[in-house]
Amino acid sequence: MSDPDLLFSFLTKLNALTGGVFLLVAFGLVAIRQMLTCLRLYVFQSLLLAISALMLGYHYGSIHLFVVAGLTIIAKVFIIPWLLRRTVGYESYAKREISQAINIPASLLIALAITIFAYFIANPMLTAAHAGIFARVNLPIGLACLILGAFTVTVRREAVPQLLGILAMENGAFFAGIAIAPTLPLFAELAAAFDVLIIALVMGLLTMKIHKTLGKTAVGELIALKEE
């Protein structure tokens, strides 16, 4: 076996490992009650996204993916946690979430079903597009994390996990994106990174406002607007 082949097989295995951990983190976001841990999980997930982008960038020889990895690390590993800690305030993180819409074992089971469903959707696309080995790992896992993020938003009642759920959805979309769209125009990549920052800023500020006005951040329990 020659050297590039060895490197290639090493890269694919490492990428598969990254993908597996990426998926595991998405499961963690569904279930873990400690809010500060949720934020750390999100940061870890973003780091995995950047690592996968680096590996794919090396494989495809694409400068775009290196830029994506750099932007991801700057925006999601450094700026977003800082932003969220500044805006939301420490006391909101110190809390544990008491009530969830569905209890944890049940929601993990549903999360498992979602993952299988994601593979089920991704498969025909991979076959139709004659996708490479990286897309075969990244597309279904990214799709699973996208839907798991949506699921997180619906079962969580606190503002911070809901916010992280939406950011995790974007992470999932990009995890698939780095494999299937490695040459997206750089300007669009820059704008997307900027966009994620604004999402975090706006939602963080809104959480702070809600905390100030209502004295709590359990947004799932707000019912002032329910119609009788």
């Binding site: 959707i121 025909p124 696309m125 076959t127 139709a128 597009a129 990214g142 799709l143 996208l146 993020g149 949506a150 938003v153 503002a159 809901q162 939406i166 959805m169 974007e170 999932g172 979309a173 698939a176 994106g177 299937i180 769209a181 040459t183 997206l184 125009p185 300007f187 669009a188 704008a191 997307a192 966009d195 604004i198 999402i199 706006v202 939602m203 500020l205 809104l206 406002k209 809600i210 006005t213 209502l214 947004v219 707000l222 002032a224 607007l225 119609e227």
Partner: protein, 496 residues
Amino acid sequence: MELLFILLITAVAAALSLIPLGKRFAPLVTLVASLAVFFLSIQAALATLRGGEVVAIQDWLACDSLAALILLLAAFVGLTAAIFSWGYINAIVEPGDVRKIRRYYSRFNLFLLSLLAIPIFANVAMVWIAVELTTLFAVFLVSFESTPQALEAAWKFIVLTGMGAALALFGVLLLYWGLRLGHPGAFTWTGLLAAAPKMPAALRNTAFLFILIGFGTKVGLVPMHTWIPEAYSQAPSPICTLLSGIETSAVLYCILRLLPLFPRAAVSRAGMWFIIFGLISTGVAAFLMLKTKDYKRLFAYSTIEHMGIIMVGAGLGSFAAHLGAMLQIVAHAITKSLCFFAAGATLMATGTRNIPAIRGLIRISPLAGIFLMIGGLAIAGAPPFVVFLGEFSILKAGFVHGHYLVIGLLTLFIGVAFFSIMYQINQMVFGSPDIILIDEQSLFGRSTLPGRNILPPTCIIALIITCIPVIVCGVYLPDQLYQLLHNAAAVLGGYR
């Protein structure tokens, strides 16, 4: 070059609005800017009539007829909303709170900028970013009054549409993948169209569904509609006109853009999804309107209903139905602006959003009463108005091609919606004058006595300006506008 100027002017206005130069400066800047943008977009629309496509920067900023139509509507609604804001925002912020006025106008301009960017951007990834930005810039406009209800509405708004945007992002990336598979062109709407025949069907269909559901949350398709009544009831009225009149149609425009990507045989399947979502939205909204007790919510449900009608029109697939859908987009944008301005005027005159609390509005505030009645009649689809024309052309187009079941159901739902709207509006407008304040404090710190609250002149001007096309276009469409609608419908590629 018009397109670049439109974006630049709005961006500059957003920055200038923050300069502290008295309380008249920010509204004046916004007004001048939106007027300039309106004339520039008329110019751009006329240019598409002559040359087909206006290009400012190849592959990045360009406008064809369909985009020009949305651009023109956005500029028109933006202009009237800027006029209406002048009086309305002065009335709802506490006197002397100039900072809040400045912040409002700055966000208003940014929101308008993102709305104008949707049709102007040619790159699909950039269009997605513009759609996402409409949400982010609108959030603090929805929560502008900072009441617990407004904050709750804003949270629901950003969470639901944020989820939708992430789903749509996945769809956009899939489209890019499909584009790259057989075609080296740029990631624009035209590039996609050129690559469509080589795109694998599985990819195209999955991308379509993700974008339909993702952007469908912003359009307000049932069952992703739950944020709409909440955000519309809490946002200031001029923001409601932008959200309802333009934002929904502009995002729907992105979904409509996918229709020509399907080959003739598959277009009916995509059309089927349009029709299913459209009929469900129209039906659910029509019945919810009967129950609601808040007139801004009433118009919010009516927005969902009209989006449903447009979806059905687009899904029917014939050129005539597409033309009807285009006309309906125009009709909805101008008529719903009138409705929300009238709702804002009613709110200023009575201080409550509660339908059962208001009786005899026509005597409490004759202007608000008359415009609310005209707006209600027009949006419900009464004959001389432009909405009737749009609905009728969709129904007729469907009937000619033998979609009897779809047209039958649509007619039924439109009938229910007509009854619901007229029932609710009649209840408010006629009868002996009376305001029963049940739970809401008197808004704006103004008199709750009937007849005391006079509308600010700018609000009246905005009402009159929007009222003119609502009435005129029902009986007479200018040639250029008709030609633009015709070209825009042709972009969707329906069969003749």
